[in-house]
């Protein structure tokens, strides 16, 4: 079986040789920059903890244990316990799960919508372009968190609706990016060549335009993911999205507020987790930008 698998993999590797080389190059470049390595490590640990939270967390994040309530950080409870005696370390680990989940969903929805709209607007041009760019203008006229708040309030208070609300506020940025990218790729010589040998519009979009939009999308997504996590936790903090007892970071900070006078750790550790993850995503995004898009390299 291993032999079969290695043969399949070998064939795949042969077909994707260029991609693999590209990936190797990316990693080589990342190794040279300590900050991007730090960002990557934070991201990997974050994803690992999010995926394996049930296995690595020492306690159940929901089960209460009143005799152990409000204990300061110690060896048994690394981050201490909250007002219901739940282990904060475990809750913070489980919180990674919700944040990653929300981040991925929001990016997936807004990237898909943004790409479809942006590529169509850029490629078709004309009235369609005009219409959709005016629509993105309208959305960008709102302060983001405020718009997300209003949409979440209209849809009703739930985790899914909050994700949807944040997605609705962030797709216009991707649409803008994709439109600009499409416009510049469209004028390239190889697209003209493809057109002149009779490639269909669909083929040009899927074979030439979309692959060239990949790098900016990846960069933008990794930079925006931090912002998404901040927005989601902010909404959680004011009581939108996840609800107690869900171990969402924003909700945890909000619940710890009543105890900050004496039991600072309840609010401080979840916030620290948000800070570190967003910091990591920023390092990662910045370094990906430098590596994948040399034109954007900053002085």
């Amino acid at each position: 079986m291993w032999y079969e698998m290695s043969k399949v993999f070998g064939k795949w590797a042969e077909e994707h040789e260029a991609d693999i080389e590209e990936l190797k190059y990316t990693f080589r470049r990342m190794r040279q920059n300590p900050l991007s390595l730090l960002g990557l490590s934070i991201f990997v640990v974050f994803v690992f903890l999010a995926v394996f939270a049930p296995y690595v967390s020492p306690y159940d994040p929901i089960v209460q244990s009143l005799p152990e309530r409000l204990q300061p950080p110690s060896v048994t409870h690394l981050f201490g316990t909250d007002e219901l005696g739940r282990d904060l370390f475990s809750r913070v680990l489980w919180g990674a799960r919700i944040s990653l989940w929300m981040g991925i969903m929001v990016i997936a929805i807004s990237v898909s919508v943004g790409t479809v709209v942006g590529v169509l607007a850029g490629y078709l041009g004309g009235r369609f372009d005009e219409l959709f760019m005016r629509i993105t203008d309208m959305f960008l006229a709102f302060p983001m968190l405020i718009l997300a708040m209003a949409i979440a309030a209209a849809l009703g208070n739930s985790l899914e609706n909050t994700m949807l609300a944040i997605s609705i506020t962030s797709w216009p940025r991707y649409a803008r990016l994709m439109r600009a990218q499409t416009l510049s790729v469209k004028e390239q010589l190889y697209v003209e060549a493809a057109r002149s040998v009779g490639a269909s519009k669909t083929r040009i979009v899927f074979k030439y335009i979309l692959p060239n939009c990949l790098a900016p999308i990846i960069i933008q997504s990794s930079l925006r993911m931090g912002g998404t996590i901040l927005a989601a936790s902010g909404l959680g903090f004011i009581g939108f999205g996840a609800r107690p007892p869900t171990p969402e970071w924003g909700v945890m900070i909000s619940q710890g507020r009543r105890y900050i006078m004496g039991q600072w750790w309840i609010s401080v550790f979840p916030g620290l987790a948000i800070f570190i993850v967003v910091l990591g995503l920023n390092f990662l995004g910045d370094s990906l930008r430098d590596i994948l898009d040399p034109r954007l390299r900053r002085g």
Partner: protein, 340 residues
């Protein structure tokens, strides 16, 4: 074209933007909710009402009409300043907004001033001393500002400066025992000065320090980053080399030649930052019990007071559009090449 002609044209261009904004708020309030009437009356009230009364309300709010007629009604109500009634306070929302608005504007303006006054010099020092220790510290400081959740920073500062050190107050615009000065402008700092009460003025200022810093921090960070990178960009330009080779002092090169050119992108981002200040005020005012629109919005959210949430959204967005208009006008002053 003269500058006021330009301003007049930009103000006219604001009209389609506002129409767009209203279209979106209309869709959010009339199409998104499962039952728009429940959103207007609040779920608790809905449960108590008899079906006949519910139908009566539906007629009264015009929710039985086709959507396009509802849209025209919505517009004409807004033009007449009717934002509906708050479910929570039972007041006309316009009155509530008028009451809470000054506190938010005061905080946002102080924060905006703070972010420009700190962010721009920070970015310039960073650029001039590139890769030296000052640069590293200021970049670290900026990065932290972009990545930190503001509501969390607020809580940490309250723990440190209020509970531990007891240096600064942590809630409200004044102490509970003090009475706000008679309202003239609604801005507590100016009103207390107008009343000639210096002690009260100092107290108001002390109450503003923590919330305005937390609100400003993110903007400070973004402005400093932008000022740094555009300053570095400008410092490489040919005219800077010319200025240096003429033998001008570094001071004059930086302040006379580089600074003004580096300010253009910085001003753009400041306008965008005003939007994030308004967004941030929702979280920051909630933590500091600051009686402004952001606090009002959170109170409305937790009490399922949907009309109030929509009204705050609308007001914040209009203020944001105005801020961007001011930014556009500022360009011309900074860069005479931009033709009005």
């Amino acid at each position: 074209m003269k500058i006021y002609e330009y301003i007049a044209r930009r103000v006219l261009l604001l009209i389609p933007v506002i129409l767009g904004i209203l279209t979106i708020t209309f869709i959010i309030s009339h199409v998104f909710p499962a039952d728009p009437l429940a959103a207007l009356l609040g779920p608790l009230q809905m449960r108590e009402l008899r079906p006949e009364t519910i139908e009566m309300y539906r007629k009264r709010f015009g929710l039985d009409l086709p959507l396009h007629e509802q849209f025209f009604n919505y517009m004409s109500r807004l033009v007449h300043g009717d934002l509906g009634d708050s479910i929570r306070t039972r007041n006309p929302i316009l009155e509530d907004l008028a009451y809470y608005f000054p506190a938010t504007i005061e905080l946002a303006m102080v924060a905006m001033f703070m972010s420009l006054a700190v962010g721009i010099p920070l970015g310039i020092i960073s650029a001039v001393r590139k890769d030296q220790i000052v640069d590293h510290i200021s970049r670290l400081f900026s990065l932290a500002g972009v990545c930190m959740p503001s509501f969390w920073l607020a809580l940490v500062l309250i723990i440190v400066f209020y509970y531990r050190l007891d240096w600064l107050p942590a809630a409200g615009r004044t102490s509970i025992s003090s009475i706000l000065p008679p309202t003239v402008t609604g801005l507590a700092t100016i009103d207390s000065l107008l009343a000639g009460d210096i002690d009260l003025f100092l107290e108001v200022v002390r109450h503003m320090i923590l919330p305005s810093f937390v609100l400003a921090y993110r903007a400070i960070a973004s402005i400093a980053r932008m000022a740094r990178s555009s300053m570095l960009e400008v410092m490489r330009a040919d005219y800077i080399r010319t200025a240096r080779s003429k033998g001008l002092s570094e001071r004059i090169v930086i302040y006379r030649h580089a600074l003004k050119n580096a300010m253009i992108p910085t001003v753009t981002i400041s306008g965008l930052m005003f939007g994030s200040l308004l967004s941030g005020s929702v979280l920051v005012e909630t933590v500091f019990s600051w009686p402004g629109l952001g606090w009002y919005a959170t109170a409305a959210l937790t009490n399922v007071d949907f009309p109030a949430v929509m009204a705050v959204t609308l007001v914040f967005t209009l203020v944001y559009s105005l801020a961007n208009l001011i930014v556009d006008v500022t360009y011309g002053w900074l860069d005479p090449r931009i033709k009005y």
